[in-house]
Structure formats: C-alpha cells, structure tokens
C-alpha cells in the first residue's frame, strides 16, 4: 500500500469534527445570534452617562462595557462548549462514525483526543471571533486597541477545555442532559462562590461582622470546598485584570489557571480511562 508517510489520524478526525459541527444549522444560528448581541453593545459607547450626578465620559464607559462584555462572552461560550460536547459521542455512535473510525488501526485515545481538540478549537474560535468584535467596536469608539483582549481570551480557553472534557466524560456515565446540567452547576457554583467570597471580604462586610481574633485561621468545610472548586470564574477575573493591568489577588491553594489545568488533567485521565472500557456499537 502506498500510504502517506506522516498520516496522522488525529488531524483527520479533528478536521472532520470541525466540518461536521460547522455545517449544523443550529451552530450557525447560535453564532449569528451571539454576534448580533455583541454588536448591540455598540450603542453603549456613544453617549456620556450620568451616574450619581457625575458625568462619566465615553472612554470610561467604553472600558467598563468592554470588560463586562468580555466576561459575558467568556461565560456564554463556556455554556455553548458544554452544549456542543454533550451530544458528540451519542451522535458519532448513532451515525456509525465511531465504528467506522475504530475499525481502522486508530487507537481509542486518538479518537477521543481528536474530538476534544476539535471541540476546543471550535469553541475557542467562537470566543475569539466574539471577543474580536468587542475589540473592534472599542477601537472604533474609544480609539484604543486593547489587544490584550485576545490574550485574555486565550487564557479563558482553559475553562472551555475543562468544560468539554468534563461533559464528554460525564456523557459516558449519565444521560447527556444530566451531564450538561452537572457541569452547568459546577460553573454556576464557581461564579456564585467567587461572588460570595468577594462580598464577604469587602470592607463593608468586614466592618459589619466583628470577627474574633484567629477566625481567619480556622478553615470551615465550605472554605475548603471553595478553595478546591474548579476556579472557572477566577480565571476569567484574572484574564480581565490582565486586560486593564490591575493587580489580581487570588484565593485558593494554587493559581486559578493551575487549578483549572489540573482539573483538565484529571478529567482527561478519567475520560480516556472510561472510553477505553466503552462498548462500541
């Protein structure tokens, strides 16, 4: 047989995954809706707003809107990545793609790696395009180009990877919708947890609650859970802090990015182990 020297099945499967996802009408519609929403923020840059009797200039508003949009897009794309991932194994099974691929000399880990990479690249592209729109709008309105936006976007892609790996793994064990809801729950808890933590450590809260000395040292169980929880929200906050050059103080045992990457490793391990034992039909 005259086979290609450097035939890499991962690249081929990745290519097919991207092609299959992009041709889905629901994907295109979802993308257009998101892009339209992002374009709507354009109106926020035009006028000067009055807040507490002070006139805020367009520049300040622009910055604020840009950062808020960054957060919303990153969170929304995380949700979309979970949605895209939850049906992928079932669809491949139902359409005979799994049995077609795995009847060839292709290892299961190669198939799973290609699927994961494909989904990750697709959702990253989705997020980068939406973030680029914001970048473009900010540039037009405030004449400042915040290219660190795209770098921050790349950092947030670790969240996408975690969500994809986790949903893929859980979709092998649970009904897909439950798998999706579980990861949605994990993400929501991460955002709410950070919100509560920030509120409880704000100066006002500190002043209201007279804490006895030594209180900070004793860890309660929910603090332990909070420190160990996947830090999806903190990664986003870190990324936005990088955009505006603010200092970012993190809580937990390790840096949020390290936390999320460690969770990615764990999920990847579980996913590969579980898929090895999967019956292919």
């Amino acid at each position: 047989m005259n086979l290609q020297k450097a035939h890499n099945p991962i690249l081929s499967i990745l290519k097919y995954t991207l092609a299959d996802e992009i041709q889905h009408k629901s994907f295109i519609v979802l993308f257009l809706i998101c892009a339209a929403f992002v374009f709507l923020t354009r109106g926020c840059y035009n006028d000067n707003f009055v807040m507490n009797g002070q006139v805020l200039n367009a520049q300040a508003i622009g910055w604020f809107v840009s950062k808020a949009s960054f957060h919303v897009i990153a969170a929304a794309v995380t949700l979309i990545a979970a949605l895209l991932s939850m049906r992928i194994f079932r669809r491949d099974r139902d359409e005979g793609i799994q049995s077609c691929i795995l009847a060839k000399p292709i290892a299961r880990w190669q198939y799973v790696a290609a699927k994961t990479l494909g989904l990750w690249m697709l959702s990253l592209l989705f997020m980068l395009v939406l973030h680029s729109i914001i970048l473009f709008i900010t540039l037009l309105n405030t004449k400042t180009a915040i290219f660190s936006f795209l770098f921050a976007s790349l950092l947030c892609s670790s969240n996408l990877l975690f969500v994809i790996l986790a949903v893929l793994f859980l979709s092998l064990l649970l009904p897909e919708v439950i798998a999706f809801l579980c990861i949605l729950g994990v993400s929501i808890v991460s955002y709410i947890g950070d919100g509560i933590y920030a509120a409880s450590h704000s100066q006002m809260a500190q002043a209201m609650v007279h804490q006895p000395q030594g209180y900070e040292q004793s860890l309660t169980w929910w603090q332990v859970v909070y420190y160990l929880w996947p830090k999806l929200s903190a990664v986003q906050q870190w990324a936005t802090a990088l955009i505006s050059g603010e200092t970012f103080r993190w809580t937990g045992l390790v840096h949020p990015l390290v936390n999320v990457l460690l969770y990615c490793l764990l999920m990847a391990f579980l996913l590969f182990m579980r898929f090895e034992r999967e019956d292919i039909v």
């Binding site: 047989m1 005259n2 086979l3 290609q4 035939h7 099945p9 081929s12 499967i13 097919y16 299959d20 041709q23 139902d94 359409e95 005979g96 793609i97 049995s99 077609c100 691929i101 795995l102 009847a103 060839k104 000399p105 292709i106 290892a107 034992r277 019956d279 292919i280 039909v281």
Partner: protein
Amino acid sequence: MSNTVIEFNNVTKRYGSLTAVDAVTLSVAQGEYFALLGPNGAGKTTLVKMMLDFTRPTSGTISVNGISSTNTACRNAIGYLAENHRMPPHLSGRQYLQRCAELCGFSRREAAEQCDRSIERVGMREKEHSKASSYSKGMIQRFGLASALVGNAKLLILDEPTAGLDPIGIREMRLLLESLKGQGMTILLSSHLLSEVEKICDTAAIINKGKLMVKDSISSIIRDGETLEAVFVRLVKGLT
C-alpha cells in the same frame, strides 16, 4: 491456505448473567471464505465485535494476523461492514468513502481513486453525490460494503452484508465476493441466508447460545444430500 488469519482461543463473553459467547475456540485460514451462522442472539455479532476490540472478552484471547486484537495494529487492512451499517446523514456516499480512505492513511488523491473503484464495484455511481439521508437501506448497505473495500483490505469482516438488499443486490454481492476470491482475500461473514452461504463460502461455523456447535468445510457439514438449512435446523433445534 495454512496461514491462520483469525484465531479465537477459548473466548468467553458475559453480559451480567448472560453468556453471549461461551468458550469458543476457532481459527480462520488465509484465503478462506468463512461463514458464521447461528440463530438470532447466538453471539455472532459479539464475536465480530471482540475481533475488532469494540468489546473485550471476559476471558480468552483473540488474534488477527498473529497480533492480539487489543493491539490497534491488528486492524491494519481490515475491511468491516457493521450489522445495520449507518452513515452520517449530511455526507454524500462519496464524501463518506473519501473520509474512510483518508482514515486508512491514503492521501486525498489516492483516496479519491480508491473511492472511484469501490463505488464502481458496488454499483452506486448514480447516487454517489446524493446525501446519505436520501438513501434507502439497501443503498446504505452498498456504501457500507464500499467502505469496507476502500482500504485495500486483505480481511473482510461482514456482519449480515445482505441485510436490506434486494434479490439483485444479493446476487451482485455474491458475484462481487466471488470476484475477490483468488486475490488472497480472507472473508468472515455472518449471515442468515444459508443458500447464499452455501454458494460462496468454503467453511462454516454454527453457533447457538454462544456455543460453537460445529466448524467444518461446508462440504463436510452437508452430508447425505442434506441442505445446509436442514443441518442448521437440526443442530439448533436439537439443543432447545
């Protein structure tokens, strides 16, 4: 004809309390046309799936071309047609075959040539550019066979290849398989069409409730002017 291509060594597969395959030992030689026969639920598909490592045996070992079935390398040059073959509905038959060939390691151009050849072989030239969602069951089955042929396979594993085919399709399938004979191709096929099996295959194994009842050349299985069907019914009914 002495080189062993497939070897099942005391293979058992249990699903909970159900024993789908029960201590089966058998081998298929190179160039042999081998039929796996048995009633519904006998364990034919389970045997096939264990060969491809789609499911692992509870005990026993399987080797293909001398390589353990758990090693991906053993699936080099295997063409597989699944029981109730399916295709992604948004792809045309040609796009599907192109992917299959590329996954076998062919370059885009070589893959296109492979597609042309196998589309011609299964007589699907007219429909090659239509979406799979518009295909009938028999057409999907034909493209499935084409996909098994696409990678220059030396071993074909066909799980009920005639399912859904019309009488002409069944005849064409037989002629196609016969035309591959003598090219060093080994075929393992599971089928319920005993008259076709009698015409094409050299050897057959009859399994029932996961147990191997008989494995011999078709001419030895059919004795005293009995048909394969009569032997099949006698063996299967004899147990129940």
